[in-house]
């Protein structure tokens, strides 16, 4: 996890740019020198040629006035000696005769030069012979053709003439180019560095509150925990990790909109930031969850800080002209006494936070006795998929009994995990894991399939017992659920009334519109619906009338002290009346004594389940129970 460092460490840009700029500078200098030299050379050759053309035309003028062929020789001599001081020759040819005059040239050189002169008129290109350069002119006047060839020192002179200036200017040009290279390279490298830094900042910071994010937290913890190595630069001896979760963020979001939620988050971030001092850091990992990593903090110090934060979050925040107090639950875990690595520390703090939330205690330190727990949790989470594949999750059945006749009128399917290592685990130990593992849909379907298979098996044997399945609220959000149930019923040739879906009251109100349509689909299939734990949820009676369920199951909290608590008795009586008015059945949960059963019966309740009759049992035992002579239980 050194991604951020990696982003920042890209230092290769600058040297590369400098090299590139230097190469360009060299190239530019070279081109400049070459072009200047060629330009000067060209101009020199041209002026030289012009001078030669001058001589040639002069000579041809003279020649046109000559009548005697013998005078041509003298004329040649005069011209050559007077006008030329470098090796040269002139030939004059007519159709019949040829005259020629040499100056400082051997006859062989002359003849090879003559051969080298091309027939064309273009004489701008010098001729090379034996390392010397020659220029030539050809002129025709009357019947004379004059060819004038002359060695030229022009190029050498040019070279020596321009060399000094070129040298000095190219040094200056190169100097300017080097500066340009340095400036450009530095500017670009600086820019790239800025971009990299802002990228690293964006990657590690939350855009809303400007606080560091999860990536930063992980990096920070990885760097801070454990022994000092090359990667970890600032190891600490101890420290506390705090997880802050706002209690009423969702409500604010839902009722005032996202803008209000954002305002709340910003305000909370600001308040908490003011409470903590460096090196402690506040981090927002998403949603309404904040982390504080406080190196050097003892648990006592962390508790004090938590108290301050909770108080601060409980003081009202003004949103849309309304005062809202978000409330916060804080979980604290301590390094190294509770966990020694990043994952462990976070899990511990998270567990503590959830506990704080459940107990509404504001803050909670991770319980030392459960140090090993999070490892178990992690392992269980890993083993979940195996459990589903290998069918380790099995169903236990608890009978529902008719209070009048004592007969079993139904069964509630309860899941158990037949764990190969830990033995039989109750739902409390793994349902949470499933709901947070992304396997909810798979799990729900697995349970439905298992219950349907069991119900159909009993059905074929003539044991007509409907099985009730507890559905997670997340299952109701599965758009293919109704189709799956319909298909399963069809495959097992099971009449739909033998499957019942139990929903807890809280669940039924998370997304009432959607869930209503999901429940309507289930009702269309003919599956009966029950509200579980009735009376303890938060849903209104209006919802209840809209959900149109078939069964109300009154919660065990009202039953357990039924004989002594007048208030609970009144609630039960009301619930019974309610169920009768809605035209649905009523089941009492958690009946443990004969007295409770009798009382419920007297109040008008017709069905009950609880330890008085039977605990949840494996399918075979339940089967045996059903096979007994009826009635299976004596109630009254």
């Amino acid at each position: 996890m050194q991604q951020i460092a990696k982003i920042k460490q890209d230092k290769t840009v600058k040297p590369r740019l400098i090299w590139a700029c230097l190469c360009v500078a060299l190239l530019v200098s070279a081109i400049y020198v070459t072009v200047s030299y060629r330009l000067t050379a060209d101009i020199t050759v041209r002026s030289e040629l012009k001078a030669m053309a001058h001589i040639t035309s002069l000579f041809s003028n003279e020649l046109s006035q000559v009548n005697d062929a013998s005078e041509v020789d003298t004329l040649l001599n005069e011209v050559l000696l007077s006008a030329v001081n470098t090796p040269a020759f002139i030939t004059v040819t007519t159709a019949q005769q040829q005259w020629q005059k040499n100056l400082l040239l051997t006859p062989t050189e002359r003849s090879s030069l003559l051969q080298l002169i091309p027939g064309t008129e273009d004489n701008a290109d010098p001729i090379e012979l034996n390392g010397k350069t020659y220029l030539w002119q050809r002129h025709q006047t009357g019947h004379y053709v004059i060819t004038f060839v002359q060695e030229t020192p022009a190029l050498d002179i040019t070279l020596s003439f321009v060399a000094k200036r070129l040298l000095v200017t190219s040094i200056i040009v190169f100097w300017i180019a080097v500066w340009l290279a340095l400036t450009l390279a530095s500017l670009i490298a600086k820019r790239a560095e800025q971009v990299n830094e802002s990228l690293a900042y964006i990657a590690t910071h939350d855009s809303l509150t400007g606080l560091p994010n999860r990536l930063y937290l992980i990096e920070l913890l990885e760097n801070s925990l454990g022994p000092a190595t090359e990667d970890t630069d600032t190891p600490v001896d101890e420290g506390c990790l705090l997880i802050i979760d706002l209690d009423r963020f969702k409500e604010v979001n839902d009722s005032f909109g996202y803008a209000a939620g954002d305002t709340l988050l910003k305000e909370v971030a600001r308040r908490v930031s003011e409470l903590i001092n460096a090196p402690a850091e506040l981090i927002r990992t998403g949603g309404d969850e904040f982390f504080i990593w406080a190196p050097g903090y003892t648990i006592e110090k962390a508790k004090t800080l938590s108290l301050e934060i909770v108080n601060s979050c409980n003081s009202p925040i003004l949103i849309n002209g309304l005062t809202v107090n978000s409330g916060a639950s804080i979980g604290i875990s301590h390094y190294p006494s509770q966990a020694e690595n990043t994952a462990g520390l976070i899990v511990c703090a998270d567990t503590a936070m959830h506990k704080a939330k459940a107990m509404r205690s504001g803050w909670q330190v991770y319980d030392d006795k459960k140090i090993a727990d999070y490892k178990d949790i992690l392992q269980l989470r890993a083993e979940l998929s195996d459990a589903l594949e290998q069918q380790q999750i099995i169903l236990y059945y608890q009978p529902k009994v008719d209070l009048a006749s004592g007969e079993v009128i139904g069964a509630e399917a309860l899941c158990r995990w037949q764990h190969p290592r830990l033995g039989l685990l109750g739902p409390a130990e793994f349902i949470d894991l499933i709901e947070h593992s992304g396997k909810v849909q798979e799990f729900g379907r697995y349970i439905i399939a298992a219950a349907a298979a069991q119900a159909s098996q009993w059905h074929t044997e003539g044991l007509l017992v409907p099985i009730a399945i507890n559905l997670s609220p997340y299952n109701l959000l599965d758009p293919g659920l109704a189709a799956f149930i319909g298909e399963t019923l069809k495959r097992h040739r099971l009449p739909p009334q033998f499957i019942e879906m139990e929903l807890t009251e809280n669940e039924t109100c998370i997304n009432i519109d959607y869930i209503q349509s999901a429940l309507a689909q289930l009702r269309e299939l003919g599956v009966s619906l029950a509200i579980d734990d009735f009376g303890t949820g938060m849903s209104s009676l209006a919802y209840l009338s809209e959900l149109r369920v078939n069964v109300l199951k009154i919660d065990r909290t009202f039953i357990c002290d039924l004989t002594t608590n007048k208030g609970h008795r009144a609630i039960i009586a009301a619930a019974i009346t309610l169920s009768q008015s809605f035209g649905c059945d009523m089941v009492a949960e958690g009946v443990e004594t004969q007295e409770q059963a009798r009382m419920l019966y007297d109040m008008g309740c017709r069905a009950a389940q609880g330890f008085l009759f039977a605990r949840p049992m494996p399918a075979q035992e339940f089967h045996a129970l059903l096979k007994q002579q009826k009635p299976q239980f004596s109630v009254t």
């Binding site: 200036r165 200017t169 100097w175 400036t183 500017l187 600086k190």
Partner: protein, 71 residues
């Protein structure tokens, strides 16, 4: 824009030597070059280096954000 020094000693003295040599060459050996324009160029080049020597500050370093002086 304050002229805060951005050259270290070596950089500064190297520039000083180059500046003095080049300026002197341009001033006293101009005949060797044979071109006034180039003489002027050399003169500017030398002068800039002499400014760097005097102030310990290089405009190009300043623009590029380079600093060879240790803090």
């Amino acid at each position: 824009m304050a002229l805060t020094s951005n050259l270290n000693l070596l950089d500064r003295s190297l520039r000083g030597v180059i500046g003095i040599c080049v300026t002197a060459f341009a001033l006293f050996n101009g005949d060797l070059i044979g071109d006034v324009f180039i003489e002027v160029l050399l003169g500017i080049f030398g002068l800039l280096n002499l400014i760097s020597l005097a102030s310990g500050w290089c405009p190009v370093y300043h623009l590029a954000g380079i600093n060879t002086r240790k803090h």
